[in-house]
Assembly symmetry: C2
Homo-oligomer: 320 residues x 2
């Protein structure tokens, strides 16, 4: 067992948090991670009410352990926050945007506030919002994120927001990454892509197999999927995805893609229906190099934690 500020805060058995991947981390995956002793966060994304009702209900039905919800801050509003809080999650995580308008509401509901940040300026905003936990997310993470890398970002955020506990996110897929996060001064790791390639994740098996097959050089941060899907992400946040034919075609030609939108958007939605991942996006981080099979979430939580314990022991054994 590894005991940290994170495990103390939520009474967890493992310092592992499921990244709230929109459209991937549904109630089944969140409950599985929580039942395994981590903290499962449902990927509430842009705040679709029908999806949230279904998945939050499912999470609450399937676990009696602490769980939570993650939302894209700039995309949601008070109504979404209220809906989420009505399911009495133990944690709400806000990412990408100013969390200060919602912090007090989350905390007044007796819920812990987690804020994910991509640099020190955002870390200070998170602290002002009253964050109980701050996730420092590096650019190697899958999905949306910033430009700073995890290894130097985490200790800088730790210093900037002390004594607020910090988690590391981005590039962590095994116990070595978790042990490194703890060495950097983090209280645990938030893990995404590794759980995408899990049995319980939403999303097609063929998407999960692409993650298993991919190499770390085959991901990139790109705006092309946001453009074709019509999401108005604020400047500075691109999504990291697996390279595919759509990226090859449009990367660097974003203006032309915007001109071609009506037809391209239609084609994209058709490709979604077909499960055609040469066109549609598979969000994934650079840690795909460390992912070799689709596994049950509980097995992943257990193995990552055991491997981290072994690495902490092995590292300490280097001391003479």
């Amino acid at each position: 067992m590894i005991q940290t500020g994170l495990t103390d805060l939520f009474n967890l058995r493992h310092p592992i948090v499921l990244a709230p991947m929109a459209g991937v981390a549904g109630g089944q995956l969140a409950a599985a991670v929580s039942n395994a002793g981590g903290l499962g966060l449902v990927g509430g994304g842009y705040g679709d009410a029908a999806w949230l009702r279904k998945e939050l209900f499912s999470t609450r039905e399937n676990t009696s352990r602490p769980w939570g919800v993650g939302l894209i801050t700039w995309a949601v509003n008070q109504r979404v926050i209220d809906l989420v809080l009505s399911y009495q999650p133990d944690a709400v995580m806000l990412s990408f945007g100013d969390p200060r308008p919602y912090g007090a509401f989350v905390k007044a509901a007796g819920c812990r506030l987690i804020c994910q940040v991509q640099d020190l300026n955002e870390a200070r905003l998170a602290q002002q919002a009253g964050a109980d936990l701050i996730v420092a997310q590096g650019t190697e993470a899958g999905g949306h994120g910033g430009t700073r890398a995890t290894l130097p970002l985490v200790p800088a955020v730790v210093d900037a927001v002390a004594p607020t506990p910090v988690l590391a996110a981005g590039g962590i897929a095994d116990g070595r990454g978790l042990a490194a996060a703890l060495a950097l001064g983090a209280h645990g790791a938030l893990i995404g892509t590794r759980f995408y390639a899990s049995t319980e994740a939403q999303g097609r098996p063929s998407a999960k197999q692409r993650i298993v097959a991919a190499h770390g050089n085959e991901t990139l941060r790109t705006p092309v999927f946001d453009i074709v899907r019509g999401y108005g992400w604020p400047q500075g946040y691109y999504g990291r995805a697996l390279h595919n034919a759509f990226v090859t075609r449009w990367s660097g030609r974003e203006e032309e893609l915007m001109q071609a939108l009506p037809a391209e958007r239609t084609a994209y939605h058709e490709a979604m229906g077909d499960g055609n991942f040469d066109t549609t996006v598979v969000w994934a981080g650079e840690a795909v190099d460390l992912i070799h099979s689709v596994e049950d979430a509980a097995a992943l939580v257990e193995r990552i934690s055991l491997e981290a314990e072994a690495r902490l022991r092995a590292s300490a054994a280097l001391l003479r």
Copy 2:
């Protein structure tokens, strides 16, 4: 004391290697790091023979501990390798390019071969070259590098080249980064920017002060300094530098810079003479957030190592 494959290989007291920063890591800095119990590498860069003779002589005069030299692989030739080996360094490090043409010569001279890599393909080439040590360098590093981030790259390289020992580079400026590197399975850290801001580093005090003052958001990878200086770097390797007025002016306008070269190159050389860092480059990595003063190299080696020891103990103490 931390004992690893690195400290065993060179009989070091600390698992710390000075990054061979061209024009920054001269004989004085390399000797200081070696005398402090790390491994000092002179920044041989593009292989200027007169500079190398002076600095290698100086290193050898100033330390009786193991030391080495780093070179930019694509920029050097057999004559440079022979010159370097004639000073009987304990290690030669090759970065950026195919090391296989030189590996046998380095090893036949009784010298250890270190290869720095930016992805798994390069890691396999390094192994074929006979590398005794492979440095996995993340994109957060200062100076030239690739696109992959340190935290997920290091364990992937460890797996790909086992049992060859691996070092971590990029984003490491304190003992937390070193402890994290060890947790990832590396045998030590190669550290650059932190030693740029040291008393013994070559380079102007005003450049060192810029590193001390900078925030991690104020670095970027850019080709503009290579274009204006006229270095023909192979595709894929950009240098990470502090943002300045020259970057603001030319970033994204590289074609125009090439058109304006005669005048811009003259102006750049004048700015070099003036120590004008609004125009000329200060290479620096994202770990500038963790650098708060210019210090003696020996004090840095000692503190980073002691802090890493403390972090290893503290991390192991999380085990229940």
